[in-house]
């Protein structure tokens, strides 16, 4: 008995040591992960001189001293920020909505309906998974420069002879996605067959089944796609710096560059940075269960 108890207590001591060590490492890493963004948020409330003065101490991370919303006010009043923000919201929102609709519809047809050439099409879509956007951005630039389109600007809707400097050039190329089709396809394959069959007997058309029965069940995939796609679209940078040179249709991320060159005031740059980071950060903290799960499922295709 006594030996047993002694062993238990030594195991317990080891466990305590383990937990202490775990927390020490976790806290060390947490500091490394928090401090750049904390510095950003705190600095956005300070005047330029105060940021540099506080750098020598822990005050750099603390909201102390002369704090004000002046930087934020400046960002909203002097720059094109409200326009960039609206552009980003419109572009992200419409791309995500269209993407969910178009890709889920295709995936439903590929997974649950019967037609000739279906498996060949699916095979082709899987093959397209390997083509990254970076590898086609340059020739696409030439293509969109010669497509007739519409632009929405201060004068309302105008017809253009090129897609440059429009919203659509930032939306349409990202709607259809092999990866999104693949995610929906895998989900639809696992749904029980009886679902469609019962509805068919009742005389429902394929589209009605998709809209009324299958899509309501697909909420987890819809959430996954919405999250991954919103992240990618909100943070777009490479494509808009090439395809959009006017402020009319410019989104927030290339907007920072432009803002930076016009005002080298660090407080204001940090305010701008905080403003474009906060929306996604808040959404992430609210829906973090979904976020983490969606990355885990979205990341594991294979």
């Amino acid at each position: 008995m006594t030996t047993l108890r002694r062993r238990k207590s030594s195991v317990k001591a080891g466990r305590v040591l383990n937990i202490t060590l775990t927390y020490a490492v976790l806290i060390f890493f947490a500091f490394l992960f928090i401090f750049p963004m904390l510095f950003m948020f705190v600095s956005s409330l300070k005047a330029n001189e105060a940021i540099f003065a506080d750098l020598r101490s822990i005050r750099a991370f603390l909201p102390v001293g002369d704090l004000s919303w002046d930087n934020f006010r400046y960002v909203f009043e002097r720059g094109n920020f409200p326009r960039y923000l609206l552009n980003s919201v419109v572009i992200t929102g419409s791309t995500v909505a269209l993407s969910i609709l178009v890709n889920s519809m295709a995936a439903y047809s590929l997974a649950r309906l019967r037609w000739r050439g279906r498996s060949a099409v699916m095979l082709a879509i899987v093959a397209l998974l390997v083509v990254p956007f970076d590898a086609i951005a340059i020739p696409m630039l030439l293509m969109v420069s010669r497509l007739p389109g519409v632009a929405f600007g201060a004068e309302g809707m105008t017809l253009t002879d090129s897609w440059f400097n429009t919203h659509i050039v930032q939306i349409f190329p990202f709607v259809a996605s092999a990866f999104t089709i693949f995610l929906f396809y895998q989900f639809f394959l696992d749904l029980p067959k009886e679902l469609d069959e019962a509805a068919r007997v009742d005389g429902a058309t394929p589209f009605q089944i998709y809209w009324k029965i299958v899509m309501p069940l697909a909420k987890p995939v819809i959430a996954t796609v919405a999250i991954l796609q919103s992240l990618a679209m909100w943070n777009q940078y490479l494509w808009p710096i090439m395809a959009v040179q006017s402020a009319e249709a410019r989104p927030v991320m290339p907007g920072i560059q432009e803002f930076f060159t016009r005002s080298p005031e660090w407080g204001q740059i940090m305010a701008y940075s905080s403003l474009v980071t906060l929306p996604l950060l808040i959404i992430f903290i609210l829906f973090q269960r979904f976020f983490v799960r969606s990355v885990a499922t979205g990341g594991l295709k294979g």
Binding site: S109, R114, V131, R200, P206, I285, V295
Partner: protein, 376 residues
């Protein structure tokens, strides 16, 4: 994958075949099914297939973004300019008695690479990428497009540094937050938060942190070493600029790989750990013989996707250093965008992206082979 469908001559199943194969005729699927798949297919053809075909075909022309001149077929000209690379050996200069000429400090007094190239007609158009001294010889790597080769070396350096750092730490963090301890969800959120923020924003914040004079990183180093470490000009020094970008990139992306590892860890059956405990395995052996084999496919997936992402390095460099100092952080994508967009040479930019795509394809094949090989 889908099962292959029985083929009918006219696309619609005949009554007889329908009765044999399925209980009810489904001829109504034809038009509806095609209508539902059409928008996505149209999008993929217009914005993936056509640009891809364009990339390959334009790379054999002299197409420019905005030019009144007609496009001409130029054959392999873009590729020869891009891929011409060769070593150039420069022997040490000697005086009449065969003694190697040296300067006051004892360094061999090699002639400039540029002047050696100029003295040789066959090397017309070549410029030096880098040089290496081997004994009394200097070996130079020379190329027609030195920026591309510099970019290729930089991108590979970046990938070789960032992949092990990012994935190794991601695995460590995943194992730490995989324990059922109070506060763990908070830490998971913290580690994932940079993934949610934008790379552009973080690049701007980190340029400030890396600043030689005011940067917090130098302040911390100085404080931690009691002033023994002199402030480093992280982004302004060719030898540290790439390292600075590696650290920042690993920090930003790690949370993503952590979550994928977490999913992999939770897929390892608990019984295996219990069995290992019964056999008296210590922590390292548990990790080595249960965790690692259990994570095999996750590991392959994470390593290859991280490597593929690393080859596309663009945003951080574009914001933080614009490829400098002295070309030390130029990358393949940066070179492609500079050629294709800023210099409007779409054809040459396309040739660069074709080479980039072939590198990605190679990694994707390696991934497939490893996964399939492991499942046999």
């Amino acid at each position: 994958m889908t099962r292959s469908e029985p083929r009918h001559l006219d696309g619609a199943p005949t009554m007889a075949s329908a009765r044999v194969r399925q209980p009810r005729p489904r001829s109504s699927d034809g038009p509806a099914a095609l209508l539902m798949v059409a928008p996505a297919l149209l999008g993929l053809i217009l914005f993936v297939v056509i640009p891809f075909v364009l990339a390959v075909s334009l790379s054999f022309t002299n197409q420019r973004l905005l030019s009144p001149n007609p496009t001409e077929f130029v054959g392999l000209q873009n590729y020869t300019r891009l891929l011409s690379v060769r070593p150039l050996v420069i022997p040490a200069p000697r005086d009449a008695s065969g003694q190697v000429l040296r300067d006051e400090e004892g360094h061999i007094d090699f002639p400039r690479v540029r002047s050696v190239i100029r003295g040789n007609d066959r090397l017309d158009g070549y410029k030096d990428v880098l040089t290496l001294d081997v004994g009394t010889r200097r070996v130079a790597m020379i190329a027609r497009d030195p920026v591309f080769w510099r970019a290729l070396l930089n991108t590979l350096t970046f990938a070789l540094l960032v992949v092990p750092l990012q994935c190794g730490l991601a695995l460590l963090l995943a194992m730490l937050v995989n324990q059922k301890l109070p506060g763990v969800p908070f830490f998971r959120t913290v580690f994932f938060s940079p993934v949610v923020a934008s790379m552009v924003v973080l690049s701007i914040v980190w340029s400030f942190l890396y600043d030689r004079q005011f940067g917090l990183i130098n302040q911390l180093l100085t404080a931690a070493s009691f002033g023994r470490v002199a402030p480093i000009d992280w982004l302004g020094n060719p030898s540290t600029a790439m390292l600075a970008i590696v650290i920042m990139s690993a920090w930003q992306g790690m949370g993503f790989q952590m979550v994928i590892f977490l999913a992999g860890l939770q897929g390892i059956p608990q019984e295996l750990y219990e069995a290992a405990d019964l056999d008296g395995a210590n922590a390292w052996q548990r990790f080595r013989f249960v965790t690692l084999p259990g994570l095999r496919n996750t590991m392959v997936f994470v390593l290859t996707t991280t490597a593929i992402a690393a080859l596309g390095l663009f945003t951080q460099v574009d914001v933080m250093t614009q490829g400098g100092p002295n070309g030390a952080t130029t990358t393949i994508m940066l070179h492609a965008v500079r050629s294709g967009f800023r210099e409007q040479d779409i054809a040459y930019g396309s040739a660069i992206t074709v080479v980039f795509f072939l590198m990605i394809l190679m990694l994707a094949f390696i991934q497939r082979r490893l996964v399939l090989g492991g499942n046999k």
